[in-house]
Amino acid sequence: MSQLQIPGQTLAQKLLATSAGRSQVAVGEILNCRVDLAMFHDSSGPRRLKPMLEELGATIWDKSKVVLVMDHYVPEQDDDSRRIVRIARDWAIEQRLPHVYDSIGICHVVLPQKGHIRPGMFCVGGDSHSPTGGAFGAYMFGIGSTEMLGVMVTGELWVRVPDTIRMQWDNTLSPGVAAKDMMLHMIGRFGMNGGQYQAVEFCGSGVQALSMQERMTLSNMSAEMGAQVGLIAPDETTREWLLKAGVAAAAEMDLSGWMTDDSASATTHVFDAATLAPQVAAPHSPANTQPVQAFDQVRVDVAYIGACTGAKLDDLRSAAQVFKGRKVATGVRLMVAPASQQDQQQAESEGIMTTLREAGAEVLPTACGACSGYGGRIPDGANVIATTARNFKGRMGSETAQVYLASPYTVAASALRGLISDPREILA
């Protein structure tokens, strides 16, 4: 009698099997998954959900699993913003939502800082950058408001078990090169839909060596690769973060199972982190990526360090390392919108905010700001280099602006020279 072979499972399969109450699942199966956490913000959440829930006469399935973050229309700049944020605040009180974070930072950064995202969870967010949660070994992705309404009523969501595409980064990054460069490189290679709504998993020594916030940058921009999720197997770096975020249970958490089995079926692409150069994505697509050298004569009018994918503490640290004691070039406007108050406070205490201000930075509120084009906007016709996630035409509020995407190191170096520049030349 032949021995029964249990096929190996990918991390994605294991996470989905758990949320569907199964021992294992096959690629292509459509599952009904139980939602462990649902996040939405002032734009995608209450203003859309409240009227629909009221019309249905339905109630939220489990308020303890809901997190509301006000980050898109804060600080309120006009009557429409005030109305939208007011709806969110009133509804939070009326519903007695236990987890509400108002104007303290961007949802994708605030959630992990408050310890909401933990390995093994199945989570949804009312925002396309919700795959950020994958950095913690949670199956998390973005959904629209109507689908979120379905989750609010039922606590469940359908998922087709995806194939897994493993992005294996060997060796470690050189100084002046960051997770953003890895991600822009991968998006450039595979395109904005290269992920085909499957599960991307980042692995290898180059990924293991990254801090949690750098890992979050990878998972976050899985969205720009068209993946459903961007997973990273949790490890001791993850545990350390969770403990700091107040998740006491993390001390005893068994993380060993949350990984892709060697025998699991997956496509693997191998990269060398050590030889990766800083990357820049030209207008108007994150996939329009080349090494920084290709852009060395491009003038910079505005340098924008902001967004969930570009203004976390580690991003601010990277920028400050380049700016240290230097000033931006004449005519360059440098804007810094830290991703969360916690990150900004820590950056203040490390002297990083002082370095940035002395370099000429205008410090903006800890919110989505100009990245989404909702709050503030960049000047028409400007050449912008930004640490944000998307440079679609008009995305940042101006149809005529030319937006280049790069790491915090590269944005800082470019601000210093007034031309797109390789940060390694300054750090050397």
Partner: protein, 162 residues
């Protein structure tokens, strides 16, 4: 079987083009007039109910904002035909009752032509008689479109009728 006028678009049409950030503060009736204006300025004002969009690969990439799909529904667009869609847009479209048809032949469709759509077989027929077979769609998603979207299904579930 029903007949639909084709509007053609290129590859990588993103959500921010369908629901521009600057108008996201408004309701869908305020967003829809600006739908796709950065790509085809005349589209929103000229498109008639029942039209279909034929586009290149990666239709709907970008944001989770379902107003991108909702704006098309608001303008009366019946279906979008493309070689591939953003996964997130795919979910949103069906949730809002917008049919998405996947076929590698989408870009062969021509501006202004009238195509017949058979919802049973998911087959498109051109005036010349040429057929394009679209990829199968799970039954529960077709049912969602037939119901006019997830909200209508939830209404039924809550026992309030449609």
């Amino acid at each position: 079987m029903s007949t639909h006028r084709v509007w053609t678009f290129g590859a990588d049409i993103d959500t921010d083009a369908m629901a521009p950030g600057a108008y996201m503060k408004l309701g869908i009736e305020g967003i829809a007039p600006h739908c796709l204006e950065s790509v085809r300025p005349e589209f929103a004002a000229s498109v008639q109910p029942g039209a279909v969009i034929a586009a290149g690969p990666n239709f709907g990439i970008g944001s989770s904002r379902e107003q991108a799909a909702a704006a098309l529904v608001q303008l009366g667009v019946k279906a979008v035909i493309a070689p591939s869609f953003s996964g997130l847009f795919f979910r949103n479209a069906f949730n809002l009752g917008l049919l998405l048809l996947t076929t590698p032949d989408a870009e062969q469709l021509e501006e202004g032509e009238q195509v017949e759509l058979d919802l049973q077989t998911l087959r498109l027929t051109r005036p010349s008689g040429e057929h394009f077979q679209c990829e199968p769609i799970p039954e529960f998603l077709l049912a969602m479109v037939a119901a006019g979207g997830l909200m209508n299904q939830l209404r039924q579930r809550q026992g309030r009728g449609v």
